[in-house]
């Protein structure tokens, strides 16, 4: 089966010697939601811009459904829908007019233009607002309209660069709800870049973790998280008179690793908390031990990132705070 995106040995050096990509390999199967997760400055946008034929790579190649982005750019462009990180709408036109102009640019036949626009406006819950100027739209409405525009020519691959940057949690959920619904209905492939790990975790079938121009890990979200020590659980028990017997109780349960014991508190890790915890609780009750407190720290993609780079995803973000704020202002410009 042909891959939706195939990236091999991709290197991009910008004029001035900045190496944005340093040998990226990537395979994206058709029909899945694929997240490219990494801090700002990791090279995500550069990779996306090469995939969408905006930039030429220094070395390596990218193929989209078998078409090389360097030599068959026009074929690639007709297969993809793309929503850039920054706002891509004319704020001094209405939502409907933006869709109309883009539909003409994308060569949608005039007899089906109106129907497609109206269906997508309806689908994105923008019908009522369609005759209002985009400059009075909220950030979430702008994103939904941009996604609607990207879907007008029924692309096989939808490429989203930071699709929910600057949006509040409710708007983020709504945007993702619409994207996943559409994806299921039309078996479309989605490739998106984000620095929100919860977003990649929740919506992607497959994740590539990116840092400083290279892919440092890839896999399904669960697989990635299993590579770290797993979920951590801390139990505070009624009394630990006989440490050895408690340790014995724990040692009878498969799939856990004791990390430390400290007085009446025991900390251990497990690869699957929802399966292991009931068993532990059952054993403790059987031995007449009371539990005062349970703390569960489920493994996150941040833990994966820490394990691989020694830093938190959020730490990398902090240095780019101003950039993110500027971006947010751009997206909300006019609101």
């Amino acid at each position: 089966m042909v891959l939706a995106i195939e990236v091999r040995g991709l290197v991009k050096i910008y004029p001035g010697g900045i190496k944005a990509l340093n040998g990226v390999d990537l395979d994206v199967d058709e029909g899945i939601i694929y997240a490219l997760l990494g801090p700002n400055g990791a090279g995500k946008t550069t990779l996306i811009r090469i995939i969408t034929t905006q930039l030429r790579q220094t070395d390596g190649y990218v193929k989209v459904f078998g078409h090389d982005t360097s030599t068959q750019g026009s074929n690639v462009r007709s297969l993809i829908g793309y929503v850039p990180q920054e706002m891509s709408l004319w704020s001094d036109l209405t939502g409907y007019e933006n869709m109309l102009i883009y539909s003409k640019i994308y060569g949608i036949p005039s007899n089906s233009r109106k129907k497609i626009i109206e269906e997508l406006l309806e689908f994105m819950d923008l019908r009522e607002a369609s005759n209002r100027m985009v400059r009075i739209y909220s950030g979430g409405m702008i994103r939904r309209l941009e996604i609607a525009i990207a879907l007008m020519h029924r692309p096989r691959l939808l490429v989203l660069d930071e699709p929910t940057i600057g949006l509040d949690p409710a708007a983020r959920r709504l945007v993702w709800g619409k994207i996943t619904e559409y994806c299921k209905e039309y078996n479309m492939t989605i490739f998106f870049a984000t620095h929100y790990m919860d977003e990649a975790d929740r919506y992607a079938n497959y994740i590539a973790l990116m840092n400083r121009g290279i892919i440092i890990a890839r896999g399904k979200p669960e697989e990635l998280k299993q590579n770290v020590e797993g979920d951590r659980i801390t139990l505070k028990l009624s009394s630990i008179d006989d440490n050895i017997s408690i340790l014995n109780i724990f040692s009878e349960i498969e799939g856990i690793t004791i990390l430390k014991t400290d007085g009446d508190t025991i900390e251990f890790s497990t690869s699957n908390v929802s399966y292991t915890l009931p068993k532990i609780l059952e054993k403790l009750f059987q031995n007449n031990l009371k539990i005062y407190e349970i703390k569960i720290h489920e493994a996150t993609l941040d833990d994966v990132f820490i394990k691989l780079t020694g830093r938190r995803l959020s730490e990398e973000e902090y240095g780019r705070y101003r950039e993110a704020i500027t971006m947010r202002k751009m997206i909300r410009r006019g609101s």
Binding site: S74, Y82, S88, L89, W90, Y102, G107, I149
Partner: protein, 256 residues
């Protein structure tokens, strides 16, 4: 191949439509920009006509009408390039270059849109000139041809503006350079006075100034009721073609 050309033309038309819709929603710029040319005609023109500075020119208000149309339109065309910078800072340009249309049609579409936006001054200036006694031909063919050739000429200035916007990189520098070149372009042309009376160096500048040739076209069509504009059109075509080609060539630069 045919489909490709058809799509390119449709996308160019879509960009013109976009510009016209923007104008309809917000005509303030056009109205604000009309104030200056109206003053050129109704104050400067009227006063200079009374003083009779240029004896070789019969009716001064009529004489400067095409020049003032060009001054006003050129200002708008030269400022248009900034919109491309705004669109690059936003994501519009990224979005456009990932659409299936060729990159050249993005530039041509925007240049044509800019030319049309600039040409809105044609009607406003003509009406105000007629109101203060300018004698403009009533031949609709000449009037329409004048309008079309004004759009054509303004396309060159819009391209020039885009090239400057790309090269200058910051908006402040761009606005500075536009401010610096618009007035010299206007004064060192035949817009306000005949080239014959200019001193040597300025005369040579006026001869290579494309504005001179577009003013000449309008003057012949709108005042002298003459259609002998072929030579002027050739010069304007060279100007439009050169600036357009350069603008297309450096579009990639603005994106990257």
């Amino acid at each position: 191949m045919y489909k490709q050309y058809k799509n390119a033309i449709l996308s160019i038309l879509a960009m013109i439509e976009m510009e016209l819709r923007r104008l309809r929603h917000d005509p303030l710029e056009i109205i604000a920009r009309a104030i200056q040319p109206i003053l050129w005609i109704t104050v400067f023109g009227v006063v200079m006509a009374r003083v009779r500075v240029f004896l070789s020119i019969g009716d001064y208000i009529t004489f400067i009408t095409p020049g003032v149309i060009l001054q006003s339109s050129t200002f708008i065309a030269l400022a248009y390039g900034i919109s491309l910078v705004f669109e690059r800072d936003l994501g519009i340009l990224k979005k456009l270059i990932t659409s299936p249309i060729p990159r050249s049609s993005i530039v041509i579409g925007r240049i044509l849109a800019g030319g049309i936006r600039a040409s809105t001054q044609y009607i406003i200036v003509l009406i105000s000139a007629i109101a203060v006694g300018a004698k403009i031909v009533s031949n609709p063919i000449n009037l329409l041809l004048g309008y079309a050739l004004l759009v054509y000429g303004c396309m060159g200035f819009t391209s020039l503006s885009m090239i400057l916007a790309i090269t200058m990189k910051t908006r402040e520098r761009f606005m500075g350079i536009i401010g610096a070149i618009t007035m010299p372009l206007f004064f060192a042309s035949n817009a306000l006075y005949p080239i014959d009376i200019m001193p040597g160096a300025i005369k040579y500048f006026a001869i290579v100034n494309p504005l001179t040739y577009i003013v000449d076209i309008l003057r012949k069509l709108l005042i002298y009721n003459s259609c002998e504009v072929f030579n002027d059109i050739i010069v304007v075509t060279i100007f439009v073609a050169c600036t357009t080609v350069v603008a297309i060539k450096i579009l990639n630069k603005i994106v990257e």
